[in-house]
Amino acid sequence: MKTATITHPSRTGVALVSPALAFVAVFVLAPLVFAIYISLTNWPLIGSFHFIGLDNYAALGRDTAFWRAVLYTLIYTAIVTLPILVVGYLMAVLVRANRRGSTLLRTVFFLPYVIGLSTLSFLTVLEAQPDSGGFNVLLKALGLTDGSTAWLVNAPLATGLICVLVIWGVSGLTIVLLVAGMQGIPAELYESSEMDGASWWDKERRITIPMLRRTIAMSLILSVIGSFLAFTQFFILTQGGPGSSTTPIVLAIYQRAFVQLQVGSATAMSIVLIVVVGLISAAQFWLLRERD
């Protein structure tokens, strides 16, 4: 980078970056510090509060609602992560070369991701209804069920449905990342192994996957973080129920804070989440730094 000069006085540089810094300070750093403080109090949303040290954290240890949400989030993450990668990889293989129609397919694969999980969840609500919903109509037409399944009031069924929705809805991101990576692999690598008569899978295993190691790791990390922070699809489709059987961690925090009005306890849960997600992101930064 160049040094400060007459044409680029450092005070102009400072002036240019300070509005952005101010926003980050007010809306990210201040709440972060505030969060640590709140988590050390018995803060109710309304009324007085006092400092209680680490009691909220100690209470989390025997907080079954918290641990159930943690467990549910881990199960959900475990279910969706690999299918997102596999679906994303196969679709990326399909559209990586510039063939007739591949541009259209790339566009189409990414549409659900752009539309977003909130809208997709509302559309899923109607298609999950017994008898009338599209899922039931399809399953009945295939002769698999009688079409009367009430998907959203049964925890395993609702979880399965949400997982299918998410895998379909977010694999577009993995596809785009992997296609970009695949197009950067020199064609000569494939040509020489084609001469040796290597099969499709041989080429993927020996060339594509090793070359895309970091891109694949990135996609996995992004998708794991996304799963840890899942909220919208659960809030819209099941409200965490029946009971609290489909409540992921962010929904548990939301309910603790804004339904049960226990802000101190909710914020202690948040801090745990921040640390976990922070560690995963740090792994991502470390991974990408290695490339340089």
Binding site: A4, F23, M91, T107, S118, T119, F258, T267, G278
Partner: protein, 299 residues
């Protein structure tokens, strides 16, 4: 369309391959066509199905499909939600918030990108690091302090408050994209303008503008779409019905808070939410994908 950097390596049907690999490449073409068609069905049919649903009245949507009535399509749902008034209001709120977020994010990110990309000052690296590190703080996890803080600043139940919050969430990505855009501007071009006596602002708006417009488009597009589809923050920070954005308003529709539950209205509302995303993405795809590659792949 999606950026592609290399010319088409695959052979098409019209250009026969050498005899040895002929059969193999035919198999490949058939595979490509079959898999392509199948995946097209999987990814497009649900969206077309949703479009059709939005044209069916509630009593058809909620009944087991009958061939005799299933394709009686009308605009009644759209007419109904237009008359009801809640959804049009929410669409307007969403537009205000999304456009506001796009403009504010782009302004902040362009200024900061210029500062980080072309100026040298003490603490520059640390300041840039600070902005990027905030990518690691998920806003979902600082929701309670943010709510209390925005409340104290009288920014809850406020579309302005939502814009300020969304702009901050989108800022790290925007700053990153804009810094990259400015770093690519040739020194000589900018220096010439500055030596000719253009001020910083003048240089930015006249000389540099054409070179950084793609980056600005990427930033604005991301910010708009993020604000348009965001759910948790809007749900938390807005409690007044007349300020609800579209996704939050659809929850009310889903739960029957605007009267009887009407799935016809819900599907029409969801289709309205979907349309700007599809149009913007299809029209501005190259900016979107450029941003993904810059922001995600290169970290």
């Amino acid at each position: 369309m999606v950026t592609t950097t290399r010319p088409a390596p695959a052979r098409t049907v019209d250009q026969p391959a050498p005899a040895v690999t002929h059969r193999r490449s035919n198999v490949k073409i058939v595979l490509y066509v079959v898999a392509g068609a199948l995946s097209l069905v999987v990814f497009v049919v649900p969206l077309l199905w949703a479009l059709m649903r939005s044209l069916q009245p509630n009593d058809i949507i909620t009944a087991a499909p009958k061939m005799s009535t299933f394709f009686h399509l009308t605009w009644d749902n759209f007419r109904g939600i237009a008359q009801d008034g809640h959804i049009p209001r929410a669409v307007l709120n969403s537009l205000i918030v999304s456009v506001g977020t796009a403009v504010l994010t782009t302004l902040l990110a362009t200024a900061a990108g210029y500062g980080f990309g072309r100026f040298r000052f003490r603490g520059s690296g640390a300041a840039f690091g600070l902005i990027i590190v905030t990518l690691m703080v998920p806003f979902q996890a600082i929701l309670t302090p943010l709510f209390l803080q925005l409340n104290a600043m009288r920014l809850t139940d406020s579309l302005l408050g939502l814009v300020l919050f969304y702009a901050t969430v989108n800022l790290p990505f925007g700053v990153f994209v804009m810094r990259t855009a400015f770093a690519a501007v040739p020194d000589a071009l900018e220096d010439a303008a500055l030596i000719d006596g253009c001020g910083t602002l003048r240089t930015l708006t006249s000389v540099l503008r054409p070179l950084i417009v793609p980056g600005m488009a990427t930033t604005a597009l991301y910010a708009f779409l993020a604000a348009w589809t965001e759910f948790l923050g809007a749900l938390t920070f807005l409690t007044r019905q007349d300020l609800y954005t579209l996704p939050v308003s659809l929850v009310n529709l889903q739960q029957g808070a605007y009267g009887q539950i009407n799935y016809g209205f819900l599907s029409a509302g969801a289709v309205i939410a979907m349309i700007p995303c599809v149009i913007l993405f299809v029209a501005l795809q190259r900016f979107y994908v450029a941003g993904l590659s810059a922001g995600a792949v290169k970290g």
